[in-house]
Symmetry: C2
Subunit: 260 residues, 2 copies
């Protein structure tokens, strides 16, 4: 069976990849992994939506946000190209790169997690500790893990310029000596599996805080451009300047993958 | 002569690396480049502090924040190991990875910029445009540029856990479904040239907005733990929990590199 070991508070420390889910994908260095919960172990079928408050799923989200490695164990029922013929095998450290939801064949919401194998430099194992650790007075500089890739393109630069670096959600404009901090946020994310387009109607100018929340489903935007938090409360109205059309289809896509 | 072509509004599009400054360093793939301004061209000496409002310096900061490539041209007066014997040579695209200040031999503040050569995948040339561009409906996913590397270690995880993900500057706690967004910020940065230690007394739990501002000198912290903005106004008091000692020496180091 598949399984996630971990909780939202401490993060997931390991997962077992052992096939059995319709949307599972194992490319070796990249794994699309189905979340836990919502199924009846006796009936062996999905009977409810999966949630991100389920401890294993919350553990993977926490690991993604912290850039924390997850140990991957592959079992004999997994994709034959990457799995052991018999039994279970420890297969190294991965990071959680993304997660999203989709309504499955059962009609219930299923969460999906994308995991990427860590390279040698990145694969720093993590052991949680209760008290503050001593640390390292002369740390190696290659031990870092990239947790966020911000793309810079003509498109997002132009959108940021149009809004003069002001966040379209909260209105903040973060000045630093010599410049401004603002991010071009793709509504429907670029890259697999979302495959959003890199066009102005798919890009917002956001502050790093709202970008982080938006990308993780902590904020979502309705067709009337009201901005909602994860409980559904309206927290702001999206600012849109003349000349910038925000496409409703991408807002709808974003809401769908976050189960809204 | 050296030179930066660009402005704070549009970013720097190119620099000429041609030696002549005491702290210049050219390692081929990594360049430490001295900022512009504050010198008298007739006397050929430094007569004032350099500033980040100087257009060329502001252009490099803007480029760093946007992850925008800078064209590097090397001249015959540069380090012989990496420079042409005569004349000038276009040497490809770099990104600005960091900047900091130091009081030079002259007694005046000098700004320094670290540039790193872009790999093929990252080297997407940037041409600013006035109106929103059409963009790309099916963009390549490898064209991204990493503009921020967040290290995740036992140390920063433990500090974030102590503060339950709450920002020590503004107090915000950014919840997303299944987790929290918070960052472990090194006061004295890890890696060259700052070489800060990866220890709890050098780490703060910050929200992405305050982390971005703090890392770029938009916020700085006094020995009494008052948090100042770039104009010097007190905007907050740093929250410090029992069990976490924030070392004044690292706050002093941070202030020094930002000229405070």
């Amino acid at each position: 069976m598949q399984g996630i070991s971990g909780t939202g508070a401490d993060g997931a420390d390991s997962i077992v990849v052992n096939g059995g889910y319709e949307d599972d994908l194992d490319l070796g260095d990249e794994i699309h992994y189905t979340g836990a919960g919502g199924n009846d172990p006796n009936l062996r079928k999905q009977i409810a939506d999966q949630t991100l408050t389920q401890p294993g799923n919350a553990g993977l989200v926490t690991g993604e946000l912290a850039g924390r490695p997850v140990r991957v164990v592959r079992g004999f029922r997994g994709d034959p190209a990457h799995s052991p013929a018999t039994g279970y095998r420890y297969d190294g450290l991965y990071r959680v790169a993304d997660h999203w939801s989709k309504v499955g064949l059962s009609g219930f919401l299923i969460w999906h997690f994308k995991l990427l194998r860590l390279t040698g430099d990145e694969a720093v194992d993590f052991v949680p500790v209760e008290n503050l650790p001593a640390g390292d007075a002369e740390p190696g500089v290659k031990s870092g893990i990239v947790t966020r890739v911000i793309r810079s393109t003509k498109v997002s630069e132009s959108v940021k310029k149009l809004y003069e670096g002001r966040c379209q959600i909260c209105g903040v404009r973060l000045e630093v000596p010599g410049g401004l901090v603002a991010e071009g946020a793709h509504i429907r994310a670029l890259g697999s599996p979302h495959k959003g387009p890199d066009v102005p109607s798919n890009v917002l100018c956001l502050c790093p805080n709202d970008h982080s929340r938006f990308d993780r489903g902590g904020l979502w935007i309705d067709d009337d451009l009201a901005v909602h938090d994860q409980e559904g409360a309206v927290v702001a109205q999206l600012t849109v300047k003349p000349g910038h059309q925000v496409a409703l289809e991408y807002l709808q896509f974003h809401r769908a993958i976050w189960g809204k």
